[in-house]
Symmetry: C2
Subunit: 336 residues, 2 copies
């Protein structure tokens, strides 16, 4: 199974606006050797996530940007090929913040064993439970803190995180309204996932549709997009409303200044809270999220879709789907 | 003492931009009669506060705006002249959300007795402890939640609320940097009040001065102004920083759209929290603030200035001082 060469996507220049051909280039190199205390991993799945675009840029961000000339960073799963640490043995299934490559080495301390969730495929565990699920869970439960009977709005509602946020909101007794792009996505979140209403931002006036579907106003907004939709939601938030600021996908490809909400004084007048978070801050509490999500899954109340792209060589085209809404479900690349 | 007529400042039209002559007009009318369960109050002091400008406008706000043609609303203290409620008797000193007038009637339930704080003048109790002190206390303690050793920045730092915020911050073990307008104000907050540093926004580049005076970054910002200063502070906030959004005085006289921070993505990247609050939400907890502030005062760690203007007839000129930085200390009008 083990080929002699490794392939890596190298960030050859920082994208301006949308990612274009040549921003990332696929290069071959020898398979790296693990040093003392390190592990050599063969990638099985690579996770593609909206935050990848942030790492490619040199904007002010939550970890160092990827350096031009370095392998692109990515959340990945894999199998241990060679271990020089007592903590891992060949064949172990691991997850980590790795890179867009066939193989990579990492210190043992940087690798996590996959959680044991009986009845679930490794692909689902990696794709849904490793980062996406905890992101939805902590953002909603810790920051949004919804109460029974409140109205929750979530954007990119048919996306990996958004679709779980909405299902968690239903489980917590909220009215849940999702904002998504296109009729199929809207039909899926209301028909399959049990959202109370869906708004197709591509064909509807979002502010008018929110007015219709949130007759009692909005108490919690789980924001994945920023921009005009954030403005529209803030304009209809109730007293003491909360915005869990998870992502600003509408802003990542922007090249100029990115303004905050156009109706900022409402934050004061309505005593709103806007709070940003990044899931890695919650790593110590992941077992809490795994328990909650797995319990919901066992009750038949948690569904998801995976969108699998074949082959590492297609990763740079695939990641662009995230910024056009072209993926349906959690986006993964099958590497080996 | 009781004259036969009452004077009231009437909102005759909504100001556009700055308050101008004729926006408020002083009219005479008979002294009102209290109905069953009501109390007639003669105003002693009228409090002028930045929020007055909000009430004059028809912007989206936290209570109903004052209607054109009605008496201007204001926080006031007074003496009971006539009572048709068992809860008050003539001569009682009361505080309430009253109006800009010599006399007014109010339901007994809308009036509060002055808190008993031995050694303090009624004027100080009304001017500092009734609203200003609790605003500083709850915004800082509940929302800013500073920790020992953190850096706190406060704007309008020589103002009524800001000057108390800074002193509370020192008492809680923070490095405190105040932003104020002019050398005298800056000298007062560092020399008299014990702030660690002051920034004169009228003569200094605020971002550069923050860099100098906050070498470890900013953890808590108590915002009274919004606008460019908010941008500058957010640009230097540390991971998990908190903004207590108390006021947006730079925005109240604005006539166009009021954008949020120009560096909004930092809220996500640095996991910041921005939260608006209005002191009336904390009314049930005022005794906690009174205890804290009175204890500080007794320890000699809480100082303030009052800026007293004589005569109700001067209220409409006096209120404008708040938006030009012309007042030094808590602005009060002595009415009788």
């Amino acid at each position: 199974m083990q080929s002699k060469t490794n392939r890596q996507w190298i960030l050859s220049r920082r994208p301006e606006g949308d990612i274009k051909d040549g921003d990332l280039v696929l290069k071959e190199s020898p398979i790296p050797k693990p040093g003392e205390g390190e592990v050599l991993v063969r990638t099985t799945y690579l996770s593609l996530d909206p935050t990848n675009r942030i790492w490619m840029s040199d904007m002010d961000q939550y970890m160092d940007p990827v350096n031009v000339g370095d392998a692109m960073r990515g959340v990945s799963s894999g199998e241990v090929v060679e271990s020089r640490s007592a903590a891992f043995k060949p064949g172990d299934k691991v997850m980590t913040l790795g890179s867009w490559s066939d193989y990579y080495t990492a210190p043992a301390a940087a690798l996590q064993h996959a959680p044991k969730l009986p009845g679930l495929d490794f692909r689902d565990i990696f794709g849904i439970f490793y980062l996406v699920g905890p992101t939805a869970y902590f953002g909603l439960v810790d920051i949004g803190a919804p109460k029974i009977g409140e109205t929750l709005v979530v954007s990119t509602a048919a996306g990996a995180v958004g679709s779980i946020v909405g299902q968690l909101g239903k489980a917590l007794g909220c009215r849940v309204v999702g904002i998504a792009g296109g009729r199929d996505k809207c039909a899926w979140i209301t028909g399959e996932l049990g959202f109370d209403a869906a708004i197709d931002y591509k064909s509807e006036n979002v502010a008018a549709a929110l007015k219709k579907h949130c007759p009692a106003g909005i108490d919690v907004y789980f924001d994945n997009v920023g921009g005009d939709i954030l403005d529209a939601v803030i304009g209809q938030m109730n007293l003491f409303g909360r915005v869990a600021e998870c992502g600003l996908i509408s802003m990542y490809n922007a090249t100029g200044i990115v303004h905050g909400p156009g109706n900022y004084p409402r934050i004061l007048m309505k005593r709103l809270k806007i709070q940003g978070f990044i899931v890695i801050d919650y790593m110590a509490r992941y077992p809490e999220a795994f328990r909650a999500l797995y319990a919901l899954y066992q009750q038949g109340k948690l569904k998801w879709k995976l969108h699998e792209v074949q082959g590492l060589e297609n990763a740079d085209k695939a990641v662009r789907l995230l910024y056009t809404g072209g993926n349906t479900g959690k986006l993964l690349v099958k590497v080996s």
